[in-house]
Symmetry: C2
Subunit: 395 residues, 2 copies
């Protein structure tokens, strides 16, 4: 019989998706180049040539079964070793093959990590503003997502609210730094304090609290930002990575879980992910794509355009009087709207063909997100529209 | 806190996997070419050149974002249309794009289909002998797998046992034809009778009973076999396909759900799969691989070697006096062991470097599986070992 719960879920449209559809439709009327579409976080820079070259080379030099055959459930062992070595080299943590589990990007990494360290009924805390997909990601495991209100002055962590919400039912904390939607990276000071609190609470409650660190934007960090590697601060950390943004390959669905070697039961978490994958129907990302990312392990797309775009927008927004915290990374910026209801604000912006995402679904009211993973030329042309919008509607 | 349930699962080793490890170890001693390793169902024939050529062509002719960008959650719409058109052309059912959901092979297809049509606590029936992974696939959804005993005379369906086990809690029936491990395809007569019973029970219980049809071996069918397309017999059928075996690309993790257009809520099932995928962390197979299979939509590897191997083994086994039903497809054969305990039988076979899988984990006692997706030369050489084994141990 049809499962009513999932059927009902279909009725709730995604705000971001609806705006993207609107932008596409509007593009058909006035030309998409004239729609200042800041809705979707879809990388705009191309994949590095080296990635495509690696695929072609693999197809030529590997046997059919090496290229396309089953990889063991945790992933191709050679690929896992290359990932572990890279993380060790870059961040000085002693990762080994057995700590790496290859996943279908960050979504799958989080799906596995959550199931490893929670049971149905447990609480998972995250910090506003947060990626709205965390709701289904967490609630479909049977655990319960609770959102810590934002510190809107800095978009670092609101520790007072966090400490109030901690209780023995909290088994995991999910963070995302650099952050979608704020663009802010958690500083060394923030992560140090977070780790201190978690360590104290683990002691007090007599059980581990795992930190699940969602890191798809780890490689998109801007000049001067303090954006340290999360797992260095807290032993019970599970890093969830994706190459979607760093190599501009979101459709290839490739990432990993990296278990801190000092975590509780560190050597068991990857075998547990294997068991979990039998139920989720995961069973590994593409064998060919696994091997191709391993060939490009310390490489990224040319990500500099995102910083260029950020500076253009940040300068214009501050000029126009917006309250906005300067992003330390990602391709998002998260200014305060010029009226209380961000939905009304973003609706008005459409008149100027500015597609802005209201902040409500990110767990904060009164802000909006701009995803500036678009051509710099379009960003430049959008500045006049932004100015016109503000002047006509709010002056 | 570490989830004890998944941790405990890690302690149960897979019989098949353990035998494959033994075969590899033994190969280090005597040369793997001398180990008659019938343990794993891993395709032995290469991918068609056209598949690799399609990948290279796609990388040359598509933009970075066409090749590697996000595809919508149900899959690339053009790929879904090509799949629907091919199914319609081949099987005369009016599939459209909206009935196709792209998955990470059959495991993921089943994971989604099950969640669409069951709730925790519901019963799902399958028929012995069955693929042992159905246990975690089903039980991790919260539904309960019940196994209908085998009809060992034909390895078609034991309808008497089936009708006894049907009850209002049964919301889905999961079948696999051609079957792993028996190699048998369900005949038109079997599927007609199955459909009749299900239709009557739907009426009686006042709710749908979905038929989930696991079809990774659909394209490996031998001369003379009656192996019809399941969805033609029963409207409430969800077909779960994988290209793993037909194109020899099991590591690429690519397949689909095809919802019978006449199924209850047919137009809702793909959107429901999208919702389910948010919780499982699935979010589509590789974009590049999706497009590559679409370019090879009606193509297979050269699968003829499996029939050659089957005939060699079937003839030898019957010569040696084994009770064995001739396979209609797949690359498995499932003879009766020559003593009651198939585990003892298979253990003795190891002395002759014959790696056979005892049937217990497939839900039948006293049989064994041979996966003959290996070189024909090795199959030929194994016949003498098989004869020696039987003569020395059982004559």
């Amino acid at each position: 019989m049809i499962n009513q719960h999932y059927k009902d879920m279909c009725a709730t449209p995604s705000v971001i998706r609806s705006l993207a559809v609107y932008a596409t439709e509007r593009g058909k009327e006035i030309g998409y180049e004239n729609v200042f579409d800041y809705s979707l976080g879809n990388p705009s820079v191309p994949v590095p040539d080296a990635f495509n070259e690696a695929i072609v080379r693999l197809l030529k030099t590997r046997t059919s079964s090496q290229a396309h055959g089953y990889s063991p459930n945790p992933g191709n062992p050679e690929v896992r070793r290359i990932v572990a070595d890279s993380l060790k080299r870059r961040f000085g943590i002693d990762y080994k093959t057995e700590h790496i589990f290859m996943t279908s990007a960050a979504a799958s990494a989080i799906a596995h990590a959550l199931r490893c360290v929670t049971q149905p009924g447990d609480e998972v805390l995250t910090f506003a503003p947060f990626f709205p997909e965390y709701n289904p990601y967490i609630n479909q495991t049977g655990a319960v997502l609770k959102v810590v209100p934002a510190d809107t002055t800095s978009f670092q962590i609101n520790f007072a609210a966090f400490e109030e919400m901690l209780n023995p039912k909290v088994q995991a904390v999910l963070i995302n730094t650099p952050n979608n939607p704020s663009g802010i990276a958690y500083s060394s000071a923030t992560l140090t304090k977070l780790a201190q609190i978690l360590k104290a609470k683990q002691e007090e409650y007599g059980h581990e609290i795992f930190l699940i660190s969602d890191e798809p934007y780890r490689e998109i960090v801007f000049a001067g930002a303090d954006a340290p590697f999360v797992s260095k601060f807290y032993d019970n950390t599970i890093c969830c990575y994706s190459w979607s943004k760093s190599l501009s390959i979101p459709g290839e669905r490739i990432g990993y879980v990296a278990v801190n070697p000092k975590a509780k039961d560190a050597e068991m978490i990857v075998p547990m992910c294997v068991q979990i994958s039998r139920g989720t129907g995961h069973n590994c990302p593409s064998s060919l794509i696994q091997q191709a990312v391993a060939e490009c392990i310390d490489m990224t797309s040319d990500l500099s355009v995102y910083e260029t775009n950020m500076n253009l927008l940040y300068n214009e927004l501050t000029d126009l009087g917006f309250t906005v915290v300067k992003p330390g990374g990602t391709f998002y910026i998260f200014p305060k709207a010029l009226e209380e209801d961000a939905n009304v604000f973003c609706e008005k912006a459409k008149k100027y063909d500015l597609i802005l995402v209201p902040s409500d679904s990110f767990g904060v009211k009164g802000y909006f997100r701009m995803a500036y993973c678009i051509d710099t030329g379009k960003v430049e042309r959008s500045l006049a529209a932004l100015r016109e919008f503000v002047n006509k509607e709010y002056r």
